[in-house]
Amino acid sequence: MLRLTFTKALPTQVPAQLTVYRFQRPRVDRNKLLQLAQKVWPREARTAPKFYEEGNWIVADWGMVNAAMNSRSGSIRLRHERSYLSSRPSWNISDARAVEIARAFVTKTKILGNVETNLKLGKVTHLRGQTFTRGEGNPEFILDAGVLFTREVDSIPVVGQGGQLMVNLDSTEAIVGGSRIWRDIAGAAGKTKIKPPDYAVAELQKRLKQRELQGNVRVMKADFCYFEAGTNDWQEYLEPSYAFVFETSSGKYPYKSAEVISAAEKPKQLWPQRKRFST
């Protein structure tokens, strides 16, 4: 017997219809990578980089810094290889200050083009460290702040592994990394009628039964949203969706997973796509 309990409920009211958007086809632009890296790290990225492929990524590598773009999603990754983890810096940067620096970074680099007004603060994450000696833990410390921004389109949140931008800074307020999974929108691809939340909950129950889940399933997150997939997923359309993250522990072990259910009456792209690797 499957029982759903919602930690966060879906909104009771959703729009009757919404726009479906078509994404721009991702194009790996080496010049864009160069310009971006030179804006962020002008000293380290002043010479010609070495270009190479790393799976779906094209990497521009200067040794100390590298910038990469993903050919399936257009995602961007920036990394400083400096050993900023090697000391135990005292951390005096408030979350508000970290957000301020990250917003300035977005404006300066135009990493999102001219759409930074769409930025919503998701979370200020931290890279943390702790040392253990003779079974005793020493106090943990912060190594970086990863300011994570999320996206909204037509005042609807964008949910998924995509639709987010992270800016990393160290204890000196220097930018040490960043990542952008934020597909560029080419334009509207029509309007769609929206299926109601009741449909999404019924569909979720159906899918969980297909997974043979039993007992109490806790829905930790439930969103009416536009869904944007992660770095390695090809996505052509941005469509209204319902997204769920849920946990259970019907056996001896905990279990966590997610489902995305299209809210569009006639979806243009269905999720999930086929498995990445056959079994």
Binding site: T47, G55, S86, T125, Q130, T131, K252, Y253, W271
Partner: protein, 282 residues
């Protein structure tokens, strides 16, 4: 002029990361072993759907970088004996599918951290417990492992609670856990272990984390950085953790900060480990 700039760039590398081990080394060709379980019909657990994807993504990424993917044990072929040290009756040194017969291992299945209590209810030890799918051989526990006394240097435990952090687990069940309490007895030459602070997602949204980690780790990027970047998920609340062992505090810090597959850090016997360094994002 270009040569001078290149020299300056390399000099900067040495100035900042100027330890002996950070000198550029050619990438070694590693051996890789992977294990995954999706079906638990013999062990009565919730079915998983993406263990194969995370593990095979890693294996494929490593193979494409010239490393040798020696085995891929799965639903029916994965056996717990391949994860148990011979001192405890196992055969993890089996060259065809023993985890301690390869340099880099990746395991995805169900997992949870448990406690062993004495007669008064006081916790004696924390240990990690995973599920296989073989009749009467369902559970494997970390206390039966001596990773690295043969070959293993790096291991990903892609499973729930494999690297538990107090602020992310149910403290009524695990009052004061940390990754060193769970894994310190299992480090017998192992350099770094990678895992999750709490539940790890089994979802198509995130099933390419093995691929992403393999692409970066296998091409010589910093290992801890690569894992934390590949496995963190904001929406799914996946919090990746890595832990390195060292002869001293400084040694553990250096390894956690800088180790790559090309670094040539020597393996450390369990009795010589004085410190562990954990790094995570949350």
């Amino acid at each position: 002029m270009r040569e001078r700039r290149r020299f300056e760039s390399e000099l900067a590398l040495l100035e900042v990361d100027g330890r002996e081990y950070e000198k550029k080394q050619p990438l070694p060709k590693l051996t890789v072993g992977t294990t995954w379980v999706n079906k638990f019909n013999h062990c009565n657990q919730t079915r998983l759907t993406h263990s194969d994807d995370v593990v095979r993504g890693f294996g494929n990424a490593m193979r494409r970088r010239g490393h040798r993917w020696v085995f891929d044990s799965n639903n029916t072929s994965a056996r717990r004996a391949d994860w148990i040290d011979p001192a405890f009756g196992g055969r993890d040194d089996n060259v065809t599918k023993g985890i301690d017969s390869v340099d880099f291992g990746y395991f995805s299945t169900h997992g949870a951290t448990r406690t062993d209590v004495d007669a008064t209810g006081k916790i004696r030890t924390y240990f990690f417990d995973v599920s296989f799918n073989f009749p009467k051989e369902c559970d494997w526990v970390s206390t039966s492992a001596r990773f690295g006394n043969k070959q293993l240097k790096w291991l990903v435990m892609d499973a729930c609670e494999s690297m538990p952090l107090k602020k992310h687990v149910n403290t009524k069940v695990l009052p004061d856990p940390d990754p060193s309490k769970v894994w310190s007895r299992s480090f017998h030459g192992l350099h770094i272990i990678f895992g999750f602070a709490q539940n790890a997602s089994d979802a198509w949204w995130s099933d390419y984390r093995g691929l992403t980690f393999g692409e970066r780790a296998g091409s010589g990027k910093k290992l801890v950085d690569s894992w934390v970047d590949a496995a963190y998920s904001y929406w799914l609340d996946d919090y990746p953790v890595a832990m390195a062992a060292g002869r001293t505090v400084q040694d553990a810090e250096t390894r956690a900060n800088d180790e790559r597959i090309s670094s040539n850090f020597p393996s450390i016997a369990n009795k010589d480990i004085a410190a562990f360094r954990t790094v995570w994002r949350d």
